[in-house]
Each structure stands twice: as structure tokens, then as C-alpha cells.
Amino acid sequence: MNIFRTFLESSIAAQIIMALLAIFSIWSWAIFLKKLFDFSKVKKMSKRFMSTYRFHQHTKELENMGPLLNDNPYGRILRNGVEEFKRLKLGKRIAAPEQNPQSPPGSVMEELSDNIRLAMERTKLSELTELEKSLPTLSTFVSVSPFLGLLGTVWGVMQAFLDIRLRGSAHITIVAPGISDALITTVYGLLVAIPALIFYNIFRARVNSYSAELDQFINEVFARLRKELLFRQ
């Protein structure tokens, strides 16, 4: 089967549909390659960060991790958490217990410490948004491509029946070429949709697992900073 001959011999409608599907295919593979590159980069950087992070016991040491705090999601979450921690500790906002002597000591601090978690959660969301970028486009290709292929097929079958009416014959030699051309667009639609669906599922699963890992990290950092805020004032 010569794909170029099939393309050239098809009707204009089928050619437009096949061209659109080719664009979708190129686009979806580009998204796949970009995401593959992004995820491998994030994984590499995060691994490097975590191996350094385990050796720093004190908060002051965390501040001195340098570029490791900027080049990966874990680092950026930690940086924002530590910055919020510093603001709470040094910003004189912890004078609340003196203003309201009835409240138990440390209760305001405990409430304010939630700000650290919120700052880290906010960073996590922006990181996940960045990782999820282009996934909706991929999802659109998954759902649209088979329908577009089907449209081409229905159009081709319609043309074949029109030929039958014009020629006044339903012989196989008249019907078969039209049907064969028509089915090609469905094949192309599926060829675009199937890889795109696989890519989408792979990256969706990766984003989900990454989100869980970041949650775990946030809990760990929060517990550490909260402890320091409450007991080392």
C-alpha cells in the first residue's frame, strides 16, 4: 500500500482530514518528547537535591544550599517554606501572645505555622501546573482524532453511494475503491489517537505519583520547621 498514492487519489475532504491528522500526530509526539525531557530533568535534579538535603540537620544550613533551592520543585518548595518560616520568626508578628494573655502560649504560633504549609502547598500547585502543561492538548488529540478519522470515512462512504446513484450500478468495482479510500482516514485517526492516549496515561500517572511525593516532602519539611518555630523561639 503506497501511502502517498492513497493520499493523492483521495477526495479533497479526505486530504484535509489526513493533513490535520498529520499535524496532530507531529504535535502529540512533540509533546511526548518535551514531557519526557522535562520529567527526566526534574527527576535528575530532585535526586541530586534529596541526596544533599538529607545531610542538613539545621534550618540555617538549608538556606545555604545555593542553586539546589532553585533548579527543582523540591528545592523551590523548601525555599518558600523557609522564607515563610523566617518571616514568622523575625517579622515580629509573633507578639500575639503578649497582646492576648488569656490565650495559651504557643497557640497563635501554631496557627501561624500553617502559613508555612500554605506557602509550600502554593508552590507545589504551581510546580504541578507546570508539569501538567500540554496534557490537556494531548487529551484533546486523543478524543478528536478518531472522530476526525470517522468523519473522513463517513464522507467517503457517502461519496461511494453517490457514485452508485450516478452510475446506476452497485458493482464491487465501483463501490470498493471509494470504501477503501474512506477507511484510510479512520486508520490514520487511530494511528494518531492510540500513541497519544498511551503518552497521556503515562504522564498523568507520573504527575499523580509526583504530587504524592511532594505532599510527603511538604509534611516532612513542615514538621521540621514547626518544631523549630514552637520550641526554639
Partner: protein
């Protein structure tokens, strides 16, 4: 557009070129050559005469249709008796079971017998009569047009024989002919109208 789009486009081009090369390298299925050898002359088929009494009821129903004059909606058409006679002679010789009634676009006659012979031979080659040698008489008329370049178009069944399979074979025979030699240069009209009657022979 980023570098990944270019990489993806390049990979697609690569795959397409590989597929193209692969499809070119596949050898086409060789056509089997058929040699026809006639050891003894075959008995010539007899055309069922219209006047002859036919015992079967079905055949009787078909015969009046043959008697009916050809229907021509567009213009008053001249039937050329000479042409018909010639075609009848061809039938008697055992060539095709085909009766052509040929008119020009403007309704004038067509006087080029050599062209008619080519037309009939070509169509006859493509026609496989499913009832050959059987006691069934059927007649269908196929209408088509031939342009100056000899291209056949507007093929349609003008008169049904009542048997779909038989109708299909007659349309197929004309459709497969596709192209004929260009119409004679002296022929002034733009196209030729052909009403072709296909008859089964006993």
C-alpha cells in the same frame, strides 16, 4: 514551535520515507498469462428470433420489450438502418451478442463502421455472459457517451433485463472498456451517444 516539534516532524518524515521505500520495494504480483487455444471450431450461438415462439412464460414476457422502439428523451433521434444491419451481421457471425444503436450528440448519424467494430470488440472482450449456453433469454440496454478523446462516461442502465446480475455484467463490460480510440476527426460533434443492447444467446 520549539525544537521538539522539529524533532517530531523529522521523525514523521523519516517514518513516511521508510514506508514509501518499503512499498516500492514490494514486487507486484505477476499477472498470469492465459493462452487461448482452439482445437476445433466451436458451434456458433444462435440468436433467438423475436418472431420465434418461445415455450417458457418468462421468455415471452421479455420479448415484447425487444420489439419496443428505443426511448430517446432529449432529441428526435435518427436510427440508421445500415448500422443496425451491420451490427446484426456481426451478431450472426457469432461475435458479440450486442446490438448497438448509436446516435451523435446533435442527433445526426454515425457513419464510421471501423470505429463501431473497435467499440463492440472491446466491450465484448469485457463481457462475461453469466447465462451463456443456458435457455434463458434476457435483454438489457446500457447507455453511455464517448467524448472526442474516446473516453467513456455517463454509463447507466437504460433498460433493465429484470435480472440484477445480468445487468451488472453489462454495465461492468462497458465500464471496464474505459477508453476507446479518439473519435474520427471528420466527426463534427463533441460526443457520441450509444445505446447498447445486450442479448443472451441460446
Amino acid at each position: 514551535m520549539n525544537r521538539f516539534h522539529f524533532i517530531s516532524a523529522f521523525v514523521h518524515l523519516l517514518i513516511f520515507s521508510v514506508l514509501l521505500l518499503a512499498s516500492r520495494s514490494v514486487k507486484p504480483i505477476p499477472k498470469i498469462e492465459v493462452y487461448k487455444v482452439s482445437i476445433a471450431p466451436l458451434p456458433q450461438p444462435k440468436i433467438l428470433s423475436i418472431e420465434e415462439p418461445v415455450p417458457e412464460e418468462e421468455i415471452e414476457k421479455e420479448i415484447p420489450k425487444e420489439k419496443a422502439p428505443p426511448k430517446e428523451k432529449s432529441s428526435p433521434v435518427k436510427t440508421e438502418k445500415k448500422k443496425l444491419e451491420k451490427s446484426e451481421k456481426i451478431i450472426k457471425k457469432g461475435l458479440p451478442d450486442i446490438k448497438p444503436k448509436i446516435y451523435t450528440g446533435s442527433g445526426r448519424g454515425f457513419t464510421y463502421s471501423y470505429y463501431l467494430n473497435i467499440l463492440l470488440n472491446k466491450i465484448n472482450k469485457n463481457w462475461h455472459n453469466p447465462y451463456k449456453g443456458k435457455d434463458i433469454v434476457l435483454k438489457s440496454t446500457v447507455y453511455f457517451e464517448v467524448d472526442k478523446k474516446g473516453k467513456i462516461y455517463n454509463v447507466r442502465l437504460e433498460e433493465s433485463s429484470g435480472d440484477n446480475m445480468y445487468n451488472e455484467t453489462t454495465i461492468r463490460a462497458v465500464t471496464l472498456a474505459k477508453k476507446l480510440p479518439p473519435l474520427p476527426k471528420e466527426f463534427a460533434d463533441d460526443y457520441l451517444k450509444v445505446h447498447l443492447e445486450f442479448l443472451t444467446a441460446q
